[in-house]
């Protein structure tokens, strides 16, 4: 006589599918932030009047060690204008925003050439600042 083996059914719990999909979504959204410079150390200067900077394709940052970064990648100031031009391509005015993030104690010898380079590349300069609260 043949004895039938007992079969066990193993199912993947369907309840977790939503969570897995959500986590994957967040993972790819974070990856898509190509110009991420959140790992760099800098403190913004403060100003009384600030406005939302909006979306920008180009972000230039001078960190606390006076190093220059374009979209999170370290660059030299000599090639900055041409690199910004390449990134901005032939975009119309209004879509040529360049965010400038400068550490509040950075010196003029570092940030002035950068401002000139952005101007030379035809970028719409936006200084990224913190709001200074009146007390």
């Amino acid at each position: 006589m043949k004895i039938k083996r007992k079969t066990f059914k193993a199912d993947v719990p369907a309840m977790a599918m939503g969570d897995i999909a959500f986590n994957l979504l967040i993972f790819f959204v974070i990856l898509a932030q190509a110009n991420d410079d959140s790992f760099l150390k800098w403190q913004p200067a403060r100003a009384m009047e600030v406005e939302p900077a909006g979306y920008a394709r180009v972000s230039v940052l001078i960190d606390a060690e006076d190093k220059l970064y374009l979209n999170g990648r370290q660059v030299g100031v000599a090639m900055l204008a041409s690199q910004i031009s390449n990134l901005l391509e032939d975009r119309p005015p209004g879509e040529r925003t360049v965010l400038l993030k400068v550490h509040r104690e950075a010196q003029a010898m570092y940030y002035e050439p950068v401002i000139e380079a952005i101007s030379e590349a035809g970028g719409d300069l936006v200084h990224v600042l913190d709001k200074l609260n009146e007390e």
Partner: protein, 142 residues
């Protein structure tokens, strides 16, 4: 005899999902916190290229910055007086090209000082232009 109806229909959420829910909430708020939009100030800096003719004609207001001081046309000015003084100087200038204010900074001027001064210039209706210190070749005699 009274028959008691069973009305206990409450179902408890599965406790195994609590960890997942907590994790998802943490990730969600972390992403929200890191993606906070930047705020700042727009600045239109005209290119500093000028023909010799233009340079000869134009008499622009000049603001000199050192690490801690501000001078307008060579006269030391307190930070709070920059905007009112510039407003006076630019009062009768209607054309945009006449409202150009040339900012000359010493190499050691910190960014927060520069930003505060240029904000005051723009508040007074001036158009900021940067003039960097020219490089000078110093020959040391033998």
């Amino acid at each position: 005899m009274r028959v008691r109806r069973s009305t206990n229909l409450m179902t408890e959420p599965p406790a195994t999902a609590t960890g997942d829910i907590a994790f998802n909430l943490i990730v969600f708020f972390l992403v929200c916190a890191s993606a906070s939009p930047d705020s700042g100030r727009r600045q239109n800096v005209p290119r500093s290229e000028q023909t010799p003719e233009q340079q000869a004609k134009a008499q622009h207001v000049e603001v000199n910055l050192t690490r801690t001081t501000i001078a307008i046309n060579g006269e030391a000015t307190l930070p709070r007086d920059v905007a009112p003084r510039l407003r006076m100087l630019l009062m009768d200038k209607t054309r945009p090209e006449d409202r150009v204010v040339v900012v000359k900074s010493r190499p050691e001027v910190p960014y927060h000082h520069w930003i505060a001064t240029t904000a005051a210039i723009e508040q007074a209706g001036g158009i900021v232009t940067i003039q960097r210190e020219e490089e000078r070749v110093v020959q040391i005699g033998s």
